[in-house]
């Protein structure tokens, strides 16, 4: 955890925003797809 934070602290704010945007996109997509598949599974 400490290593991770130290690594991230080196990074410029704009690049950090871009990385967060990509992480958010990944998590959001996985969650939405999971929910959508679960819904479809329930229906069938």
């Amino acid at each position: 955890m400490t290593t991770a934070l130290r690594s991230l602290l080196h990074i410029d704010i704009l690049v950090l925003i871009a990385m967060s945007g990509l992480c958010l996109s990944f998590l959001m997509s996985v969650t939405q797809l999971g929910l959508s598949l679960a819904k479809a599974g329930k229906r069938s």
């Binding site: 290593t3 991770a4 130290r6 690594s7 991230l8 080196h10 990074i11 410029d12 704009l14 690049v15 925003i17 871009a18 990385m19 945007g21 990509l22 996109s25 990944f26 959001m28 997509s29 996985v30 939405q32 797809l33 959508s36």
Partner: protein, 486 residues
Amino acid sequence: MTDLFTEMAGTAFIWAAYIGAFIFLARKGKGYDAASTGRVGFVVQAFAYVATYISAVALVGFGGLAHAYGLQLLLVAAGNVWLGTWFVYRFLAWPTRKWKERLQVRSPATLIGQGHNSPLLGRVLALLFAVLLGVYTSAVNKGAALLLGEVLPLPLWSLIWLLAVVVGFCVHMGGLRGVLYTEAMQGGIMLVGIVMIVGVIFSKVGGPLQGLADLAALPPTDLANRGFVALSGGGQGLFVLSLAVVTSVAVWAQPQMVQRHFAVGSKDQLRRITPLAMLILTVLVGGTYFAASLSRLILPEVSSPDAVMPTLMRQLLPYAGVQVFVLAIVSASLSTATALYHIAALALAEDVRGKKSTPASWAVGVGVCVVISGACAQIEGSLIAMLCTTSWSLVGSAALVPYVALVLFGRRNALAAWCSCLGGFSACLFWYLCVFKPTALTPPLVPSLAALPPFFTGIGVSIAGWGLGGLLSFTREPAARRVPEA
């Protein structure tokens, strides 16, 4: 000797299977006409959208730039995911589908033309798409042939013609539906290849976090002048930001991308396509640029940015891995090529003629594309190189404002659309020829603005053209209409 024979047999088997699958999936379009999709599942649509979007330039070219510029290239990846995909599916895809149904049109050029009550505008745009995208396919084709030459010992000219004919055959046989299925397969192969090389690079640098710490410790260079984990200062930083905007916004009105929305079946389906397309794109471009930045730790200097990914491939992957990675990059090129062939052929076969294509006109349209693509790829001409470099921005500058005005704001105005289209295209072309330093034929007319990308000028003038046209038509006909969204 036996090993060499096994390798050659393996290579031949992999490529024969690939071409076989390509043709098999193109046959899915049999029984549908050139511009019809029928019902297409959300997985196929999501993979097809990403595969059309991401060409080998994005993976190999921009991967090389990530090696040179560092993590700031993630701004391009984030822009592609949020502006180029999320925004498009949230605000443009469904209205485009509804307008297509309402106007009973079959192509993006006629959508804009009929949408603004000017069939002639549709024909002019179709001609523009056919010329620019037809020639652009030659660059895509040549890129794929060069990579294929890494694993198949055949002369370059023969590989170029082989690819042009195979792509043309599949597009002719499958039409739009076949193109979507082949692109989906290619998108899947791209994902496998990229995940593989990203995994290998991560393991070589001791994991992403260790890699980040080591990358941050590297001294700045001319391109990454604030280090490899920060946006560069001056012109270098501006270049990265402009790359992010051009690749994420100009894509909205590229006809091959607009056409993907025609296949959307319902809003419910759209809610599944969006996250899946974002997920694939995040892994593909985010993973590639992140790993390519970290690759600087294991590959400090290379001859040119374009050599980075092939060098990494040769150094890090075993024989089977090289085959999969080359398949992935060739797939990135071919998926873009099939989409471009289809748009250019459809423009020639029916949009320019102003009537629905027949089997004969469709065959002629595809044949012309094969010849243009194959022949232009053999020529080392500066005009062709120029058209290939500029087509993305020129098409975006001409079509983006009238398209967005129609589908996002429900505005229909022929004069405004003409002013916007001609103004945007002319301004972008002028900027390329006379001001933008990398492409100007003479010393830049305005040296202080020589670094400003032509797409920005094109879009600025296009918006002004729309405003001017709207004002003129308002004074002539106060009833310039705002039609409610379809």
